[in-house]
């Protein structure tokens, strides 16, 4: 019964991801896509968490942390790119 609930949850989140992917594809603007990608990342966290419960393992807990960090870094990178056009600014002293 518990597993069944978990599967349902998993399916729901997957459907949510399909929606996000739709947004990634459709756009219409790049920030829309970036936000959708960020949402995808968070959904991934959820999926992997539920998956670890289903699989009765703690091996995937690292991944959850990693996705959290990466999604943050990725979104910040994109945001900076969209804002300023560069990701790493040149060190002015070294020019």
């Amino acid at each position: 019964m518990f597993d069944f609930v978990l599967y349902i949850t998993l399916l729901c989140i997957s459907l949510a991801m399909v929606g996000l992917v739709y947004r990634v594809i459709k756009g219409p603007s790049t920030p829309d896509r970036v936000v959708a990608l960020d949402g995808l990342g968070i959904n991934l966290v959820a999926i992997i968490a539920i998956l670890s419960i289903i699989l009765r393992t703690s091996a995937f807990l690292d991944i959850i942390l990693l996705i959290g960090i990466l999604a943050f870094i990725g979104t910040v990178t994109f945001a900076k790119f969209l804002e300023k056009g560069v990701i790493l600014e040149r060190d002015r002293d070294n020019l």
Binding site: Y7, L44, I63, F81, I87
Partner: protein
Amino acid sequence: MSLLHLAIISPLILAIFIPFVHKTFPKIHTGWFLLPLPVLLFAYFLSFLSTTINGQTTMETLAWIPTLGINFTVRLDGLGLLFAMLITGIGALVVLYSIYYLSKEKEKLNQFYVYLLLFMGAMLGVVLSDNLIVLYAFWELTSFSSFLLIGYWNHRERSRYGAQKSMLITVFGGLSMLGGIILLYLMTGTFSISEAIVLADVIVNHELFTAALLCFLLGAFTKSAQFPFHIWLPDAMEAPTPVSAYLHSATMVKAGIYLVARLTPIFALSGLWIWLVAGIGILTLFWGSFNAVKHTDLKGILAYSTISQLGLIMSLLGLGAASLHYSTIDAGFYTVAVSAAVFHLLNHATFKGSLFMMVGIVDHETGTRDIRNLGGLMTIMPITFTIAIIGAFSMAGLPPFNGFLSKEMFFTGMLRAQEIGFFNMGTLGILFPIIAWVASVFTFIYSMIIVFKTFTGKFQPEKLKVKPHEAPLGLLISPVILVSLVVIIGLFPNLVAPLINTVMASILPGMEFDVHIYHWHGFNTELFMTIGVILAGILLYKFMPKWTGVYTRMPERFSFNSAYDNGLAAIQKGANRFTNAYMTNSIRTYLIYIFAFFIFTLGTTLIVKNAFTLDTSNVASIHAFEVVLVVIIAVGSISILFAKSRMTTIILLGAVGYSVSLFYAIFRAPDLALTQLVIETVSVALFLLVFYHLPKVSRHEETRQFKMGNAIISVGVGVVVTMIALSAHSGKAFDSISQYYIENTYKKAAGENMVNVILVDFRGFDTLFEIAVLAIAALGIFSLIKLRLTRGKEQ
């Protein structure tokens, strides 16, 4: 290593020291230093004469590659000895002649003599080797050194052209001969000629026999300038005259004759051999003598005359081979052709060598070889004139010179051709004496041209570059020795009869001979033919201006030379066009080739081998979220194809990558999922970097154009890979070996994470080199960014 081996390679050894000698003694003509060698070698080979005539064969073996049956075996029998004496004897005379012919101030003598010595050693190796591979090695060395000698004056365009032409044709033949050698080895299991001769009966019924025969004949015909491969010889006349005299009349062009004579006991049991050798020979004889008449350059005439005389010897060898088909008693009837061939081989070497040297003297003393500019030299150069008249009359077949004798024997051999009672010889054999007679008439004409157009008629000093005078003594010694041989052999032909006997014994083993050459053999057909040749020749020579128009009738376009030139140009053009047709310099095209080939080979293999299987018994159950994930990846991947902007493409690629990492998680691979996530993030960032730096010009967004071919190929690749994956999964033959790792990860490697233990413990070597790959990539990127060597140049 025996003395015989040393004799063969001694020219090669001396060749090493020639440049040092040349540098140390610049005042002395380098030729003097190597003159003793051919003289010594000639004397050495002469010492074998009596034992060889008594029927003894000297064999010496030196192991070279014994495991492959390749040994430097020297076999000195009659045929080999005759050639060895020709090579060393005429070699000595040519070296002497070249000392006076080539100036030590103007010419690069060190190169000349090195090439000449290379050639001499190679030629000795060809005629004395019993092992076919060794023979082939020396054979190619003769081609190579001949190439160097023809191109000796390499600043001249014609020399380079002639050298290239002769190289291409003779190496083509040489390679086909190598093919023949290999085929013969497949049939007999030995590279030794003498062992193969014993197996001749086995070989003739073998299925590879015809192929081997054709390969060998191709090699012999190209080397001996037989029709239609004769075209290289006239162009080889760009070489210095001593080279023409030595290589292109007396020795190298006879290598093909040697090969045919040497292989006669193996191949002559087939009618094809007799027909090809005799037929091509007689055709060459006619074509060479016919074409010699139209030339105005003395060396051109002599080149075509050499071609025609080689054809004569070749056709005699072909017809003489018929005797192998008869019992010993009847065979004597046909062996006269072989004795004529051997006799003429010897005669030709003497008179042609002297004629070439004579032409060299005329060229040297008057500055031209063109008969239109020459004339009336008889009183100015009496000795040269005498040499010319003896050499040319012998070539024309006039008594009392040796050419007369061999021509009579040649006619005898030709007349007997029609009596050979097999291979259609009875009907077509009548052609042989007729063609031979016509060719002899032309031979007579050009021999007369050489003598009378050069030495009689009006003296034209205004057309000559230098004031003509008689040649120095040194230049005259060699041709005088040769013409004295012509006269001596002509008057006392039976001096060489024992040698001819011995040579024939090596060409036709197991037969008895008693060669006896007579000047006078009664009023027979041959004599009337000779008288006819002389009468017709004199008539045609007198009325030459009336009929030489026939040569201009044949357009230059259809000659073999233009066929060669156009063929070479067409090959180049065709290859160029072919390469340009498929090398489009577009990666897209190359990828189409690669993928099309991929689909074609794998697809046809699947179909032909009936390899596609689908077995669902070993398949795990599919969960709903896996389906959803597949849908996500599929939709993401497909929409990459239709994305309008590059930014969308990058983001979609990232989405696909993250979904793949989710798959890793579902299929319980946490380490993979971790790595995939990080890598995907990094590569998306890199894509963004590249995207940002796109040049402004091409930055306008555009959708990909749809191309049907691309779509078909991409779908094809996908389908083929899917089919192979399904088949591979269905047909699993063995269990996995992973059970070992499961059991031993902790027990033997003290780790609980099996993936990591495999990576660093069980199979750590792979990891090491993956690290190396990453290091190289990092260093490569760093140097690509930092190293800007062209920066300064562009500005």
